[in-house]
Symmetry: D2
């Protein structure tokens, strides 16, 4: 079917490619038009547009427009630019990592103008192009039905689900990522304890990861990725332990707090990432100060720390 | 090859079956001989023994004996009973969930008498019979080589690994279980936040688990099991949230503490299990007492708690 | 000075009493007028009012009105009722446990009408009447200066602080409570480990709490309260381990998440309270389900749990 | 009374001084004799000894010997050296931060030779000399009674307690320190959230700490120390956030794990210290590796990290 894809970052570009290869007709737009043109040059069923007006004009109503731009203000800005160009019955899909409460707000706002809205959580990362994207979709059921041919093309078999009313897609995706944080941290701690042990020097970590994927309880796709990482760099010495976090982990913790659900592992996984980026965190300096105050314990001055590696 | 399997609990029974079906000749012993006889009646290549002396006598030296008895004192007791019956060159494998430091001690003790020892961590649970067991093996390399035909039969393809010197097998298995605790808790928290949300009533949790296994980042075998559990009982209402723990989780935390490695997620997963079994924990009563003391906050008396459901 | 106190709950009542005893002239209002009348009957410098209109009319402009009503919508409702009755230059103080972002919003809203606003975090609980309240005050400096005579009367010596612009008072109070959660949990865990140990039966916990308050590193007021609690009920057997939480703990965790600061201890203290109120939490049932699925581990059915104590 | 003090580190030196000033007759020994001589030169009731044999010979039986040497092997070594020199009825006190299980073992070992043993947990740090030490004592009751005059001199009023059989003193001290870890971390997190907030730049942290000690729920001695630290260095910029840990925190977590008690806050406080010393922890590199693998997320190479401050 005909679809506009707006936003050709790492995710949007590959999703557009996967859709185009499955026979859909794509009109693509990107903030920097070169990426759109590049894609159009490579895929025959793709047309590139530099202006939103031209993009919308090129689509046959009722239109479908899939937004893959950074969560937050960029989504609202783009929606605000599109709304005046659209006609009742047109359908917007937000496939970014948006906060589910934003999805609810946007659905209300768009429905008031006769427009339809779906929120689609998309998982799969850089592997989605080849393996398919796992899709969690919220919004009104009829909108979901209308875009189902797109979901079939994007997802692996059985890889999409109608999760419920507006926000449900992003909500389920948010929890997916919260779980992901916890799983990653569990593997990270396990290998860290292994690394620090007497067996740490001898063990082939890639072999352990590979082994555990053969019939053990902890087998998973993340563990396959870990095997790959250890194969390339057995002790990850080319990497720095600086770990970014995105909104979903934070929102999961906030959701847990709001609804009175204990989520210690997800919260700790998030805090671990914060800490990974603050080697000389203020909280640690407070601890050092207290130890010096009550115990006369030797502490490192900031000057010493900078001198020693 | 010829093997004695000692201990026919849930794990030992199925492992013996899998070995017998792959053509090995098994002499089996169990504390209650009926289970041994039952197995021998079902599998033609299995012989049952009621006495350790007869069992050992029936084996052609150099012997292989695989112990699948509960970790701790039961292993030591059985080894103490076997040692006088064995001859130099005989080989003992401990396949239970033993503490790795015990494996090191036992290896030393047995080697001093000319006996060989392997520690084998075994994962796979009740699915091992059909899918194969993931095997993590420590001990001297020549002992590992000798039992490799058994490992090939027990494991799925590529499903066993020589992990290093004595204790390495149980050590790697210990961490496997520590990671397992963290992963389980991550899923548990994710679904708990889902359940408590506005979307919680409508969502089909089995469908979500199934979906996430199609191309998402959190796909895993545990998630397949979770799909199955939710299919049978959509909100797990037939279960009580009482969660046992076994030694490996505790040992992982102790190992982390001993070696100065932060393992917050694994520790918290363990503590969560402790707490699941202590709904009226003393620590919580201390908190309630403090709130009453400083704030005059209403608290529940233990009588009220028992009265209300 | 002249002051209206609105809201005579546990905190407001005692604060009004303390102010009246220090010579201030109080006009008091409460949702149920009887409490106001009761106070007026006991304290000669207190007048009770059943209507907000009469209350405001009785005050000499520029007025001071101190709100001690439950955080959230009750504060906004009361402000909305008062605003039409007030004149420019009148000053509102919110002494409840309000969210600091609400304080900022209210300050803006009131200042737009020429009214002044202070947010005052108040700590001290039921002991404040005799020992004085610790007061953390935000708002414009001139408003703070104006109410300083009230703060002097309410606080113990040096027991109040101007914390900065609107919201700063509630913000500092929020963190105070977050820290309180962590400290309480630290004591709770320590005594719980003591209780579960071999020394647990013999030790006099009140004596330990008293001891630790004589020169040890952990001496504190909370520990004094704990001594009192243990003196009355040596193992807190008359209490249920059901622990409520108020907004500040949740807001502290959300603030930490928003600003990327790791706050594991405060978050865990909050989650521990959540868990104390959910003995059969869904997350724990998920864990039990997984254990049954992969290991065939015995689990408790919900029926069994209800049968056994 | 007459007492030998063995070990004149930061703690032992000040304790000896406090005892001498209260009229006790002290024979002191230190691994490097100069510190003993220095003390003898300053306090008239102190005699210094360079050899254990001479030290013991100088004491009138039944003797009292107080050991203040580093926990672990140093204690056992010293005891082994002393035992041949002692006579039945002599009494050893271990005042170091020993593991309580070691105290039990040592008591058994010494009692078998007719010697008495007390384990004394000592809190107070560098402030003990002036304020007195909080003393938690285990061992047989008659031994405790015998050393009570020493405890009276060392402690502030009511500042010592007989905690029970051998090990009880070190056990109670262990938990004291576990609680201390949790309290310190609670303050550290609270001030870290404050520091990272919009109010962080303006607030006078010393003033906040001082304020909270006037009637608030979180008032404590640690908070007094924190006020002092912030007074000297308002944002602790002269300190590095490198936080050591001693045995008691680790033992508390291990004890919690062994006895099935959830101690999340104490465990997390310990892990936070571990992490403070490992800015590029392996676990964080595992997380970074996974993010790169599944998401193509940009990561920092170790080279980049070293280049950037």
């Amino acid at each position: 079917m005909q679809l506009a894809m707006l936003g050709l970052g790492r995710m949007g570009m590959n999703m557009a490619r996967r859709l185009a290869r499955d026979g859909h007709q794509l009109c693509v737009w990107n903030r920097t038009v070169e990426r759109a043109q590049e894609l159009a040059a490579r895929e025959s069923s793709v047309s590139a547009y530099g202006s939103l007006t031209e993009l919308v004009a090129s689509l046959t109503p009722p239109r479908q427009l899939w937004l893959m731009v950074p969560a937050g203000v960029a989504v609202d800005t783009l929606i605000d630019q599109l709304v005046p160009l659209l006609a009742p019955g047109d359908l917007l899909i937000d496939g970014g990592n948006s906060y589910y409460k934003d999805a609810c707000r946007r659905a209300d706002q768009l429905e008031a103008r006769g427009l339809l809205f779906c929120d689609a959580g998309v998982s799969g990362g850089i592997w989605g192009l080849s393996e398919g994207y796992c899709l969690m979709v919220g919004g009104c059921r009829s909108a979901f039905d209308r875009i189902e041919p797109l979901l079939v093309s994007l997802a692996p078999p059985q890889g999409y689900l109608y999760c419920g009313a507006a926000g449900a897609g992003h909500f389920v995706k948010m929890l997916h990522n919260g779980i992901e944080y916890g799983m990653m941290q569990a593997y990270a701690e396990g290998f860290a304890v292994l690394e620090a042990s007497d067996y740490g020097d001898q063990l082939d970590f890639a072999a352990v990861a590979h082994l555990w994927n053969q019939g053990s309880v902890v087998r998973s796709w993340l563990l396959e990725l870990l095997e790959h990482a250890f194969t390339d760099d057995s002790r990850l010495q080319q990497l720095s332990g600086y770990v970014a976090d995105s909104g979903e982990g934070r929102w999961t913790v906030q959701q847990a707090v709001e609804t009175g659900v204990a989520a210690p592992v997800i919260a700790l996984s998030l805090f671990q990432r914060f800490a990974s980026r603050q080697p000389d965190a203020f909280s640690n300096r407070v601890l050092a100060a207290l130890r010096r105050e009550f115990g006369g314990h030797a502490v490192k001055s900031s000057a010493e720390s900078q001198a020693s590696p």
